[in-house]
């Protein structure tokens, strides 16, 4: 948010921004869009051994309307693609997308007629997690990266649509 007089960002607004970012990054409600193999590793990461909840993103919401973070876990085929797009559109701003695993990132080993070659052809992606499937440590690392990104983002008072 810009200051009204000289257009510079003032002390109060930046402090507020960083507070808002801090609050947001530790209360990420996630929507796991699980389709394939990576789901198993997602389950491991979310459960007791690796415990995503330690980082403030343990709360799984199974409706897109309550979620902040869309985890696209697994292969997206051309048949699944419109469903994913609908889910993304149903999510409310602010929202972040994580491409989870090689298939979601780039189609992975399935380079053929049936599979979308990376979900960034359908929806904007914030963080890519490589691996087939990624290990839980990789997942945690990637989600911490996302938190850093959220912390640095400028947060608007009125939630405008992301320009992407």
């Amino acid at each position: 948010m810009k200051h009204k007089k000289d257009g510079k960002v003032g002390f109060i607004t930046t402090t507020f921004n960083s507070m808002l970012g801090w609050g947001r990054k530790f209360s990420l409600y996630q929507y796991p869009f699980i389709t394939a193999c990576c789901g198993m590793e997602y389950m491991s990461a979310a459960c007791a051994h690796y415990d995503l909840d330690r980082f403030g993103m343990g709360w799984t919401r199974f409706t897109p309307r309550q979620a902040d973070m869309l985890l696209v876990v697994g292969t997206i085929s051309h048949k699944e693609a419109p469903v994913l797009r609908t889910v993304y559109d149903q999510m409310t701003e602010p929202k972040w997308v994580v491409a989870f695993g090689a298939c979601a990132v780039s189609g992975g080993i399935y380079d053929n007629y049936a599979v979308v070659q990376g979900i960034d052809r359908i929806i904007p992606v914030d963080v890519y997690i490589p691996g087939c499937p990624p290990r839980p440590e990789t997942i945690i690392n990637a989600l911490i990266k996302l938190q850093e990104k959220i912390q640095k983002e400028g947060h608007e008072w009125r939630f405008q649509k992301k320009k992407s």
Partner: protein
């Protein structure tokens, strides 16, 4: 396009859509329902949301390359898929794995089966509201995956079972890890029995819900725990024993009524039997061909390669891409078959014969070339008979490969089973069927 259920819809009923992004549909199945109040009077199932073209891919890949795709079919128990595929090839090539390799395969297969059942039941119980059971079962799976990781180097997609045997031997302290995995799984199973098996809420949702007669099950081509829950005694491990299953003692748990609870209970008891089998294998497994102490001695690979430029190194080479260290000495114990196995890395890097055989194995047009003909081989997968049907035209690629996926037949019966039940009954019914997307849609 109008769906069948829309055309058949009666007046005064409600059409409702479940999935594919419904959490209980595991992301990849869509069920359309016609409801009268809460009663399901018609149902249509749509699958194919995870169609990845497995069978078509296989026609363009060499036999060696296809192994990694089999990992991702039933991704909860990839080692069983590997075994099924590899044993079909072995049948065509006429190779048999050494005994130690067979025991290693059985141990890993049975652990994979435990993983499969744990995941299926964990999802089923969680969808019925028992989140604790989900967390407990995932915990047990982690201990099993510790062993998998130690042995194969990967947690899930392992590609560990190779034509002619397995890729590497067990690490030296595998018995300790296995013991921990067995004990922890037993503890978890006991806890889960206590939490679920006599739980009134769980019983209400599963007992006498979605009853399947043995006739219906056979008509649909059911196999595995779901078929056995209806009282039919068919298990590939007993009916057509492969590997060393005929030398092991185990029982096949059977259900009586064929309802959701029986499917749950059969799986619970099968896990006990699987653990029992692993214990027997641990006692029976033949000694490795080389001791683990010899691995620590020898030349470093870089030195060996340097030395091999002038003359053939006499000392053994210490490290190789194998997990354990040296692989050449272990080969007689875990791999057999001349033209189908990757030569030991020591040979590949240090002498010309090894290099040539490595090259010949990975060249297009060479590699593993089974004789002309066709073969079908089935193993007992996590959710039933997992069969591979391969037609070979004598080249290094299959002419056609078909996977007989067990859950395809099981899920196909869903439409008929849930008719007449209530909407909420779909959740435990679908959960107890153990739908695995990668296998269902291929």
């Amino acid at each position: 396009m109008k769906y069948r259920i829309q055309q058949e819809a009666r007046e005064g009923t409600m059409l409702i859509n479940m999935g594919p992004s419904h959490p209980a549909m595991h992301g990849t199945t869509r069920v359309m329902l016609e409801l009268d109040g809460e009663k399901i009077i018609n149902c249509e199932l749509e699958m194919g949301y995870l169609h990845r073209g497995f069978e078509k891919i296989c026609e363009n890949k060499t036999f060696f390359n296809m192994l990694i795709y089999t990992d991702r079919m039933n991704y909860v128990s990839p080692l069983i898929n590997n075994t099924g595929y590899v044993m079909t090839l072995e049948k065509m090539l006429g190779i048999e794995a050494p005994e130690r390799a067979q025991y290693i395969r059985v141990i890993l297969n049975e652990f994979s089966r435990v993983c499969d059942h744990l995941t299926a039941l964990a999802a089923m119980c969680m969808e019925c509201g028992a989140f604790t059971v989900f967390l407990y079962m995932m915990k047990a799976r982690e201990y099993i995956w510790d062993l998998m990781e130690q042995t194969t180097g990967a947690r899930m997609t392992t590609s560990f079972i190779r034509v002619g045997g397995v890729r590497s031997d067990f690490p030296s302290d595998w018995k300790k890890t296995t013991r921990i995995a067995i004990d922890e799984t037993r503890k978890v199973l006991k806890d889960c029995h206590g939490l679920m098996s006599k739980n009134k809420i769980f019983l209400n949702r599963t007992r006498d819900v979605a009853i399947v007669t043995s006739e219906l099950a056979i008509n649909y081509g059911w196999t595995g725990p779901c078929l056995r829950s209806t009282g039919v005694n068919y298990d590939v491990r007993k009916a057509f024993p492969y590997l060393v299953y005929d030398q092991l003692e185990f029982e096949i748990p059977l259900g009586e009524r064929g309802d959701n609870f029986d499917r749950y209970m059969v799986r619970m008891q099968e896990m006990e039997q699987s653990l029992r089998m692993v214990e027997q294998c641990m006692a029976k497994i033949p000694k490795p061909s080389s001791s683990s102490e010899s691995v620590t001695k020898g030349l470093e690979p870089a030195e060996a390669i340097k030395a091999s430029r002038t003359k053939k190194p006499e000392e053994r080479i210490k490290l190789s891409p194998n997990l354990e260290g040296t692989e050449k000495e272990k080969y007689p114990g875990i791999l057999s078959g001349k033209k189908c196995i990757v030569p030991p890395k020591e040979d590949t890097y240090t002498n010309i014969e090894g290099l040539i055989s490595h090259f010949k194995l990975f060249m297009r047009g060479h590699g593993i070339r089974p004789p002309k003909g066709e073969a079908y081989f089935a193993v007992e997968g996590g959710s039933g008979e997992l069969g591979f049907y391969i037609i070979s035209d004598g080249t290094d690629k299959p002419y056609r490969l078909h996977l007989r996926a067990p859950c395809f037949h099981i899920v196909a019966a869903l439409e008929e089973i849930v008719r007449g039940n209530y909407l909420a009954d779909i959740i435990p019914t679908f959960g107890s069927m153990n739908m695995i997307g990668g296998e269902l849609d291929r």
